[in-house]
């Protein structure tokens, strides 16, 4: 068999490993394994290329790979956990950049050699365009997350129109490359520049919680760039791996959008940031409210070991006593410890919560009163506050002007995460705002308690 055949066979093997790796990466238990598999696939692909692809400038390549490895490893090791997202963005930019560079290299050598088939030129244009856009877009995303530029969405008037014009111009240049070989280098430069600008202008209007979606989308783009490069080089390995990443990245992006209740179009066209601003600019007086989906809440609970449920009047209003029991049963079934913290004045009559929870047959031993439960919050992973408000208002501890100052409250804020469910930001019986909702370890899951718990149960089971 000829060497190229072997190389191609190994590429297919690598592709199989990529596929298996990606599959495993999407399940918590096998994720690490999946990553390892994929990296083995990459190793195989590299070795195959080096060994079977004919005359290569080994010295140059080894040099490049050593430099790249050192930089990559340093970044990967030095970076702090909180900076992971921007790291991914940065790496992704390099990937896109590499594709564009390869296409560019091919462009110069192949056109230099007189090859200008429509197919070649158009795949080169595509690769360069997507690769460059990925590079600059990723760099912007990195800069935003790293705080080098403002993390807030940056918008200007006519942004959409501007982007559209740029995109049209770029496509025109690309067509030019194919149709008007005379000006091919100029058009090529035009494509590169416009792609670079577009990468910036498409990314800059996005901010805050939407950044991960954008990074995921850029990741998908870098796959597309690699696939396009694969067509330039007529290389199986690049085509399979690139289109894999392109497609799966798109799916992941859509999953992430769905999790945030956004459409993909919303994200791509930069309208996201604006919506976001509206939502957070409301009446919450400087409180930084984090609103989570039940799916995310489910993940948080999944990772917890000790959970304290704090029922309040809202639970009674929603008649969610059975729903809360179902969720608690499920969590207990997974070996977690679940307790209920009953504040003496929760609800609207003495013993309101007891009546409610007795109806759902929740064992008395799990119900703890204020004095018993407060020390338990210290080592509690998640406190779930269900339709309670005044009884968990930390103002009672320190704000002398508060009408509830001096009332003993449930110290839910001592637990690692506080998951709060209510329908709105409206106050409770005492009519006062609750600063707890804005705490760093607080997470709001809005909605009617019963509906929310039912959805949560579903999501827990789906994990």
């Amino acid at each position: 068999m000829d060497k190229l055949f072997i190389a191609n066979l190994l590429y297919v093997a690598a592709a199989v490993l990529f596929i298996l790796g990606l599959k495993k990466l999407s399940h918590p238990k096998t994720a690490r394994n999946g990553n390892a598999l994929a990296s083995v696939g990459m190793l195989i692909a590299i070795v195959a290329t080096l060994a079977f692809y004919g005359e290569i400038d080994y010295k140059l390549i080894i040099l490049g790979m050593i430099i790249g490895s050192i930089i990559g490893a340093l970044f990967a090791i030095k970076i702090e956990m909180t900076q992971m997202p921007q790291m991914v963005a940065l790496f992704n930019g390099f990937g896109g950049g590499a594709s564009a560079l390869v296409a560019a290299a091919e462009f110069y050598s192949r056109t230099g050699a007189g090859e200008t088939t429509t197919f070649l030129i158009s795949t080169i244009a595509l690769s360069v365009f997507v690769g460059t856009l990925t590079l600059t877009g990723s760099l912007i995303a990195f800069a935003k997350l790293q705080g080098l530029i403002s993390g807030q969405p940056i918008v200007f008037k006519g942004q959409q129109v501007f982007n559209a014009i740029m995109a049209i111009a770029m496509v025109a240049f690309a067509v030019g490359m194919v149709l008007v070989p005379v000006n091919i280098y100029m058009y090529f430069l035009g494509v590169v520049i416009l792609a670079a600008v577009l990468g910036v202008t498409l990314t800059i209007p996005i901010g805050g919680a939407d950044m991960p979606v954008v990074i995921s989308l850029l990741n998908s783009y870098s796959g597309v760039a690699a696939a396009a490069t694969g067509f330039v080089l007529m290389n199986n390995g690049l085509i399979i791996a690139g289109s894999l990443v392109g497609a799966s990245g798109l799916i992941l992006t859509m999953i992430m959008c769905k999790g945030m209740n956004r459409s993909l179009a919303n994200v791509i066209f930069g309208a996201v940031g604006l919506v976001q601003e509206d939502a957070s600019g409301g009446a919450q007086q400087q409180m930084n409210i984090k609103s989570y989906s039940t799916e995310e809440a489910a993940m948080i609970l999944d990772a917890a070991e000790k959970i304290i449920v704090v029922p309040g009047y809202g639970l009674a209003v929603a008649q969610a006593q059975h729903a809360v029991r179902e969720v608690a049963d499920f969590l207990e079934g997974q070996g977690k410890k679940v307790l209920y913290a009953i504040h003496p004045v929760a609800g609207r009559m003495p013993g309101h919560m007891n009546v409610l929870l007795a109806e759902a047959n929740i064992p008395y031993e799990q119900l703890k009163d204020l004095d018993e439960i407060n020390p338990e919050f210290e080592d509690c992973d998640v406190a779930i506050v269900l339709g309670a408000n005044d009884v968990v208002n930390p103002a009672a501890r320190h704000d002398k002007s508060s009408p509830i100052y001096g009332m003993p409250i449930l110290d839910v804020d001592k637990s690692k995460t506080v998951l709060i469910n209510k329908r709105t930001m409206n106050p409770g019986f005492a009519g006062i705002q609750n600063e707890l909702f804005g705490f760093d370890n607080s997470i709001m899951v809005f909605g009617d308690a019963k509906q929310m718990l039912q959805q949560l149960l579903k999501d827990l089971k789906d994990l």
């Binding site: 009953i342 504040h343 003496p344 004045v345 003495p350 013993g351 919560m353 007891n354 009546v355 007795a358 047959n361 008395y364 119900l367 009163d369 204020l370």
Partner: protein, 377 residues
Amino acid sequence: MIVAIPKEILSGENRVAATPATVKEFLKNGLTVQVESGAGNHSYISDQEYTDAGATIVEDKTALFGGADIVLKVNHCVEGEASLLKEGTIFTSLFQTTKEIDAVKALADKKITGFSMHLIPRTTLAQKMDALSSQSNIAGYKAVLTGASHLGVYMPLLMTAAGTIPPAKVMILGAGVAGLQAIATAKRLGAQVSAFDVRPVVKEQVESLGAKFIEVESSSDDGVGEGGYAKETSDDYKKRQADLIKEHIAKSDMVITTALIPGRPAPILIPKDMVEGMKPGSVIIDLAAENGGNCEVTEQDKIITAEGVIIDGTLNIPSSMPKHATQLYAKNIATFINYMVKDGEVNLDMDDEIISGSMFTHEGNIVHEPTQHALNQ
């Protein structure tokens, strides 16, 4: 044939043996019904309602008894009533035949065919006639309400601004029909309920109501006899069982006892020293009071306080819920009578388990073994 429904004359009895609904059933089956005037008063049934259903109201007790082919009552045949009956009449009521020997004799002498609702076999088929069940069920339910009213504490767990109220501890001894209903009712009110019974099948039933069954855990260190049985009936086992019950009673706020052994005095489950061990203010409801009581201190038909413990030996508890007690009893007895009657005529099929089983006098003889036995003693 004429079915007669007399007014009950035992004091404190609020029930009656028929309702307008069962009167209609009798009529449909070809019988005629006569009701003594005022019979339904205590069950909130007026003479008018009986008349509307198709019964005749009879003012005179002698005429009623004398003219009847079938007499249906709640209580046994009280003094003088037997003499009013004509020979061959069928008399049916809740009749403790081994206790009311004189009344049995009076009926036998008069050649009355006597049936006792107490003797209806406890089979699946006979459940519609099972007055013991329907009335015990009321007793079990009522016992908890009465007990809770006596109690100085809440039944449910309540966590309030003024402190946490722990749930009351309720212990049920004897988990037959009354005991099971008591468990259910106490659980409904939010109490912590545990129960004990000598019959082992009851454990599953108690647990099926969400209560705890008290039993000595078979310690695995001292070998277990054939299938565990030998050990469980050993003296050591019995002693440990008794200790366990004592321990639970001492911690209980309320104890309801329902243990009966058919045809015999009720077993003493709570001797005096156990009462002394209880908390002041706790309550014992002794549903076995009629048969001597499960508590040594119980006084029949009295509510007493001994050693700070309230002990309620009230008799005839079902009668305190007359509307439903009557409705259910009337339905039970009507089902029984209609079971024997075809087209207006009584058919005493002696091969039928239910009919022969519940009969105690017939043609001058006492046909119920244990009653015969009690008479001979």
